[in-house]
Symmetry: C2
Subunit: 297 residues, 2 copies
């Protein structure tokens, strides 16, 4: 059994305070026995993509910047696996939304640059983030090998894409992990909000089922006002959850409060489930060619 | 709005009686206003794949056999779309599990030969059914054009494969339709049975979400004893359901009884949902190549 912890945070504009809180929560999770701790997407600050503003690029840092070094040291000290998320500056004018995997004393074992980038009102990510590369080491939907298994780390918008989950499974991932930042438009009616959150949970549980893999989804929580229209903004819906390899919900966090969701994951469950549901055996790879098309027209 | 009906039946070994009941239920659904009626997988008989027995091939019939002709005439008479399922004999020693789409007065508008074929204890389908062809007309995950839209008809085991749903969506399907025959092993504990049914519902709702399409799943119901060990068998779990393009459950049938599940589907819902969740816009077709591999090793 793998003891995991999902850290669901409320963030402010104070990076130092956010990181101090993350550190405190990671320490608490590790003290409670967690061997793998996952932080939410862009946990060091507010979700800055609500507007397009060039000054926000000041928030970015290189892959080996201070955030990585801080949490690498923390993972080493606590002897845990730790998944963090940064706004990565790869070069001048070239930025990514990147998750890093810290493998205890071995330091950073690998990273994942968000491959699918959203862009819709309040989530202007295409302005900020270049999509991850299709090929090369640590690119193209590759899980990160750690001492507890191969972690199939994907980020937020990726969670809507069955292709991403499948490619991680085909590369031998033992676990799918989604750091994310998703919320409601407060103007939407309650039934629409509910459908959106249910869809978000359902599609990820579906990836668990289709691939016979556990899924961890770690979301931020709380209201963040729009810089341009403070009465508007995003109500991040929390609700971080863990599902087993049949998509069964194992644990679920509050939709309103900060929380450390701790639980045990049975990584051997995939062995059992894939024996009764051998979906990988019967894939029609001879007939899937058009998946590589934009549209079959 | 499209009025649809899902006919969830209990079957016996009496083909004539089963077909007479199907016909009666289709008539009832049409009388209640249904424009599209879907029958379950292999609705003419018992689920004969519980054992491997060559005599069962006597049940098969050609694509233009009596079952097609009967229901083609019925669809014409009632002026409805009708999805049926047959055990198809394509040539001596070559059989398929095939769904046919009747387009009212225009007769059979197309067919779909099950692409993913299961094989596990009690479901020995690989003995009976050749997988559908990868290419050519009415093959390779192609929806069938009817006057009410493009129907993405898939069959049973296909429902576990996100690739199948995606390929139908990419080919312009307006609706995903799964005639199916799935049930429990009575020997399994109740919690395992529940996980299996939840997984079945969840993965199909996930296809709805990932593709912004409504889904109709039509399952058989009732216990069918194993011919070899009558105390064993399959408890088909019914539970036919319809989901909207955000995966929201629109209607759900009994898990124990025969039922005609009637409801209205808003085919314009996909337009609304795909505008707020434009997943097709951001697919990384440059990075999906390994989907065509058996495994990325």
């Amino acid at each position: 059994m793998l003891k995991v912890a999902l850290v669901q945070q409320r963030c402010s504009a104070d990076v130092a305070a956010n990181q101090a809180e993350s550190e405190q929560q990671v320490r608490q999770a590790a003290a409670a026995g967690a061997a793998l701790v996952v932080l939410q997407e862009l946990h060091s600050g507010l979700y800055f993509c609500q507007t397009e503003a060039t000054c926000q690029f000041d928030l970015a840092e290189p892959l080996d910047g201070p955030t990585r070094r801080r949490f690498e040291a923390l993972a080493k000290e606590l002897d845990i696996m730790l998944v963090i998320s940064i706004f990565e500056k790869r070069a001048t004018g070239l930025y990514h939304n990147t998750a890093l995997v810290m493998d205890a004393g071995n330091g950073c074992a690998g990273f994942y640059r968000k491959m699918h980038i959203p862009d819709d009102p309040g989530f202007y990510e295409k302005f900020y983030f270049t999509p991850g590369d299709a090929g090369g080491e640590f690119n193209g939907f590759r899980p990160v090998q750690t001492r507890v298994g191969k972690l199939g780390v994907l980020v937020c918008w990726d969670q809507w894409y069955p292709e991403a989950a499948r490619l991680m499974a085909l590369a031998g991932a033992d676990l799918l992990i989604y750091p994310t930042a998703i919320g409601w438009d407060r103007e939407d009616p309650v039934d629409e909000q509910q459908r959106q959150r249910d869809a978000w949970v359902t599609v990820q549980r579906g990836h668990a089922v289709a691939n016979g893999l556990p899924v961890l989804a770690v979301n931020r929580v709380g209201f963040e006002a729009s810089p341009q229209q403070p009465e508007l903004g995003i109500q991040f819906w929390g609700g971080s959850f863990a599902a087993g390899p049949q998509g069964e919900i194992l644990a679920e966090a509050s939709v309103e409060n900060e929380e450390i969701l701790q639980l045990e994951i049975d990584l051997a469950g995939s062995e059992r489930v894939r024996r009764i549901w051998p979906f990988l055996r019967d894939r029609r790879i001879d007939a899937y060619g058009d998946i590589l098309k934009r549209f079959r027209d």
